[in-house]
């Protein structure tokens, strides 16, 4: 399947839009439907599409394993770090009101970083699972 020219060209055309849509879902999650989990899955889906059309080895060059594994852990750390930041600014754990002078802005900031953490972990896990499966099957299906 990785040698199919039509799929490759269509994939190259579509993947930027998939990733852009993921970013939209991520950063517009406060106002419309969406959020970190959905955005993470869409990012992973875009990259898996790339891996399907161009082969897992090419995808591994674009998004190497160490990066995926770092994403896996750093997402949880970002989330927990937001909680600790709340403690540092004198509030409770995961208290966003203290993150800014204006409590509402603090909420927005807290939710933003929490969603970034969720998206990072989710896309990392999804990609890692796919890499694992694909490398076990031995071919680039």
């Amino acid at each position: 399947m990785s040698n199919d020219l039509v799929l490759r060209v269509i994939g190259r055309l579509l993947i930027p839009f998939i990733l852009l849509f993921a970013l939209y879902v991520q950063f517009h999650g406060d106002f419309g439907p969406g959020g970190g989990f959905q955005a993470g899955v869409i990012i992973a889906a875009g990259l898996i599409f790339f891996a399907l059309t161009h082969g897992v080895d090419t995808a591994r060059k674009v998004v190497p394993d160490w990066l995926v594994e770092t994403m896996l852990a750093s997402g949880v750390l970002i989330y927990a770090g937001v909680g600790l930041a709340g403690l540092l600014f004198g509030g409770n754990y995961l208290d966003y009101f203290v993150l800014d002078h204006n409590p509402v802005h603090g909420q927005h900031r807290g939710i933003f970083w929490v969603e970034v953490g969720v998206a990072t972990t989710v896309s990392g896990v999804m990609l890692k699972i796919y890499y694992m499966f694909a490398s076990r099957s031995g071919s680039e299906d």
Binding site: V25, V41, G83, H108, I111, E115, V125, Y130, G138
Partner: protein, 171 residues
């Protein structure tokens, strides 16, 4: 949707089963959109129909594509699942009608969520990330743990021969 489910039960070719469950997920997503749960619909469409279909196809690549014949007749599991389903349907008759403002779920904590002191326009995001931040932190940790466990399981066996059957339910 019912057609998809019954074909799903009767088909023995695992490839068509995977494709059918993808179709089922998309139909489920449209139902969730009709129920105004757009966030859940998005998750269902991307995870249920997208990622898990790809992962199941990857798992299918590792094993045989025909489901094995059952060694014995599955009457007991069938009876258990049918009676559980009947109980659930019976319980569903006791639920308040859809969208009823006097339903118990709208009486306790929801009014405070709806006042929304975070002033984030999407209430789902506000509840997930702010009111219930601890829950979501736990969920993120669960996802991380799943990934870490998968790495621990699969990396060690790189040199041995692939035994892909038992990995299917992780997708």
């Amino acid at each position: 949707m019912a057609i998809a489910v019954f074909t799903l039960i009767l088909t023995r070719n695992l490839f068509s089963v995977i494709v059918l469950s993808g179709i089922y997920s998309f139909l489920m997503a449209t139902i969730l959109v009709a129920l105004d749960a757009v966030d859940v619909a998005m998750t269902e469409a991307s995870v249920g129909a997208g990622i898990s279909t790809v992962l199941l196809l990857g798992a299918l690549h590792l094993c045989k594509s025909e489901e094995a014949k059952h060694a014995h007749k599955p009457w007991l599991p069938l009876a258990v699942s049918l009676s559980t389903g009947a109980l659930l349907v019976y319980g569903a008759f006791g639920l308040p009608t859809f969208g009823d403002p006097a339903a118990p779920i709208h009486q306790n904590v929801v009014p405070r969520y709806m006042q929304n002191e975070t002033e984030v326009p999407n209430v789902v995001t506000a509840v997930l990330a702010s009111f219930r931040g601890y829950d979501t932190l736990g969920e993120t940790t669960v996802v991380f743990t799943a990934g870490a466990g998968l790495i621990a399981l699969l990396r060690r066996r790189k040199k041995t021969e692939p035994e892909g059957m038992q990995r299917k339910d992780d997708a």
